[in-house]
Symmetry: none
């Protein structure tokens, strides 16, 4: 993976009257370079954010689930999140995406979206929540484990 092939930095864009937001062009470039057509979106396991990536990440999750006892609670929980909580999305010709209600509900996003790079994927945050979480991460970073 080249250096420019990861999702890096963050940017905040406006949701228009029709419920669309532009995905930052830096991120769109990465998607194009990876040949990603369809985006898989799911509720993040840790943060109040929506994570997005190409479909390969879904396959990764499925492999992980496959390593578990299929009748275990763990496997069921995981599948519920990954399959039940995930959705495919695609960009329009201008590189925008529609923000569905479940995204607003889960993240608190209202009229602006912060796109945050996470290396192999990126996330959609409510701007203030992102700020706050980042500040907290900085504070807690060096705590003893």
């Amino acid at each position: 993976m080249g250096v420019a092939d990861r999702f890096l930095s963050n940017a905040t864009n406006k949701i228009d009257a029709k419920g669309r937001v532009s995905v930052p062009s830096v991120f769109r470039s990465v998607l194009a370079r990876n040949g990603t057509q369809e985006l898989y979106a799911y509720q993040d396991f840790i943060f109040p954010a929506i994570s997005m990536a190409g479909a390969e990440i879904l396959e990764r999750f499925e492999r992980q689930i496959a390593t578990l006892d299929p009748f275990s609670e763990e496997a069921n929980r995981m599948s519920l999140l990954v399959h039940g909580g995930g959705i495919f999305m695609k960009l329009d010709a201008e590189g925008r995406l529609q923000i569905p209600d479940f995204v607003r509900d889960f993240t608190g996003i209202a009229d602006r979206v912060t796109f945050a790079g996470r290396g192999d994927h990126f996330q959609l945050w409510e701007p203030a929540a992102f700020e706050e979480m980042q500040a907290r991460a900085r504070r807690e970073r060096m705590r003893p484990a």
Copy 2:
């Protein structure tokens, strides 16, 4: 690493009307010698300064993250800082870089930037903050821990 291959000394340059600053040529020489094309910038973990270096440092961070459980809070916090809070920047033909808003917010930089060498990387400071921090470092240098 030869002696001339590290970032040494400091210099203060002006931000122009378009929000650009020249990177001191001593630093640009080091970058050229190391073959660094793309710069990775992140909010320093200790000081109110932006640290910049080649992409190796990002890879170092990522290796560190990779040692953690990918679903742990620790790993996610770290990635939020390293990926979400970092950015690739590149110099224009004249060796200048654009100062984005997050740099101003984090450092207090307004119209002038102090570039401070730190050996394997360099930093962007608000001039007065740098002075003060350096004075303090000098005072406290030999204090018992």
